[in-house]
Symmetry: none
Subunit: 207 residues, 4 copies
DNA sequence: GGTTAATCGAGACGGTACGTCAGGTCTTAAC
DNA sequence: GTTAAGACCTGACGTACCGTCTCGATTAACC
């Protein structure tokens, strides 16, 4: 939890599942429609057909609500897709596997249903450290771990120099994509991510 | 300009320089002290000893004020340091030069006077595309251009493969640092940036 | 009601009686102390220890607030004095009765607690017809009706010409006093009101 | 003058007659169109094509401007009509003369060009004693003096009891009309004013 | 007729209050 | 005991005017 309410924790067992779901949906749709700053707790409560207090009872802030709603969105997607986050593909060809995964990421980043809340939460996290850390821990880091796993496998297969730290290595192609998406520092395309993988694997200096 | 006020543009020649400076200082100090969301236009006006309307006359939003204040901060620093943004060092050793510059960047990112407004503006830009683009165009891109210049020079010197696109290449070491700083995805240190340069220049795959 | 707010009427049953009373008192005291134009809604809210919105929720304007406060003042006085507005005295001597009542009115007009809000509301009503009409209907006309009743009684007793319209007749002594008070067209005294009654009852022309 | 500005009196000889007239017209038309409270000094200046300071240089308040504008209106009307305020007609029949004059007053009170500023100034005067007194001294009292003169003439002709004070007597028919107009306490008509004259001259009590 | 000083139109300035919106707390009635 | 509803106090929003001030540019009085 980002915010630990000091008040006596309400009784979770009596919580209305109906309200919880309605709040998630209201929060996500409002952020998508009007943007994060114009999304208000009152607005979420109204659209969800819920009293304001019901939100304040269970969450500490607008950011908290949205974070949980977004996590829930991911869990629902995972459930639909077979419940466990799939590991990265491992065909033996590291470059090809990375390019494929990054191309999928490009698609996701440009999906409007994903983009609005993801941007909103990232922005909030930049300026609100606890939320930022929670966002990373619950959402980003698990994803990055999949890259770490794939890179380690590549290391065992001799496709990656043994001394390389996979946690840092992955940033060479993930972070540039993230920055372009977040900060509008450049266009995002399959070509671009393919190039990133090539540069990162084979280096910039002449061989 | 991020915001084009529809009303007839006020007369710039009669603008109070005193007020402008006071507003910059108030905005920067308030953001540093209380954070961006708790910084209000009323607060800036009060601390600057200025009427609210004087802010609304010249800027369209809190973000606009802070962006200009931050740009001004940079210009003042540049002026103090001899007026032109220095090109990156070019000792002939590309790796060493990049490591030195990134170490300096690390220092800057951790300087509290810089950090608060930079985070605030970046966060706002993530969620507010016009402002984000202006932030990049006026602040980030000029910095990145220096890397492009240095990398081209390295290309001419045969220290960089000829086919490499410098604008993409620089992201291999700049973006990871940016992401760690922005999203708290990992610690920032000289070691880390040195490693980034090594990985990027010599690649991850066995040579 | 002077102002019918278009928005959904708030729930009267949950209204805070405490706030309502505090607002009345604040409004009356501020008008008495600083005058009507310098009395602001913000000032009333602050002195009443109330949010501005609580005022805007229940009233449409400063004038509305003051009118209700003033009506309430009258009701409270009436309650203290036995709840029904006393009819005018009827000793059988019309001239004496009218003189006595007008002398009491003179005293009231010069009472500072009454004067400030009464002037303020009258002035507002001169320029704001709906409020003026409501002021008259709720405050002035009930008072004048007492004169009508007394004059009718005098008519039955043969002390007033039968053809006389009491509603007009009463204006002969009431309006001059009102005008002197409102417009500073002349001094106000017992002598003056006594004279008015004499002139009005017995006429200006030689008998 | 209602307000004596403490600052060094500006040089009257260099005053712009053009601006003065334009300000009068702007003030009167704005009050007629939008009402006194919504009439602002900025609005008057804008419509008059005049700097705000030009108003503040010569007048102390919105009320001052309007009062002078209204006085000027009267002077212009007087000038057009032969320059001296005509005395009341004196045909020898007091009742008829008074009825005629009051009928003319009824017409004037209902003339929209006159009504808006007259109401505005009266209302302001109710709540702003100095302005009220000036309004009376410069506008109302001169008019009432004409009644005094006519009543004295009637006294000499034996049509009015000798002991009657004309200054008070006139109020018996003037004040009721004034109150009905100002406070909406009743309709205004020729019948009504005729009745007032009859009641006042011949009294209410049986003869 | 040229000089000069005050007035002029304009409008930026530091302020105050406006009326609105949302935040977060609290109370009430229904379930 | 949680819920929907919503009144409450608080405080920021962005706007409108206030009355003061500073600018050139007239413009009228005086030399």
């Amino acid at each position: 939890m980002v915010t630990q309410p000091a008040r006596p924790a309400p009784d979770t067992s009596r919580r209305s599942e109906r309200s919880r779901r309605a709040i998630y949906e209201a929060a996500l749709s409002l952020v998508a429609e009007t943007g994060y700053p114009k999304t208000t707790i009152e607005g979420i409560a109204a659209r969800a057909g819920v009293g304001k207090q019901t939100i304040y009872r269970w969450w500490g802030s607008k950011a908290d609500v949205l974070l949980e709603a977004f996590l829930d969105l991911g869990e629902q997607a995972a459930e639909a897709a077979g419940h466990t986050p799939d590991p990265l593909p491992d065909t033996g060809d590291l470059a090809a596997d990375l390019k494929a995964v990054l191309r999928a990421t490009v698609d996701e980043l440009l999906d409007p249903r994903f983009e609005a809340p993801a941007r909103a939460l990232t922005a909030e996290g930049v300026v609100n450290e606890p939320l930022g850390r929670e966002f990373v821990a619950k959402l980003l880091e698990p994803q990055l771990q999949l890259y770490v796993d794939r890179l380690r496998s590549a290391q065992r297969a001799g496709q990656l120099r043994p001394g390389i730290d996979p946690r840092i290595a992955l940033e060479l192609f993930v972070s540039p994509l993230a920055q372009r998406w977040l900060q509008y520092t450049g266009p995002i395309s399959y070509d671009y991510t393919d190039t990133l993988v090539d540069y990162a694997l084979y280096g910039l200096a002449p061989r």
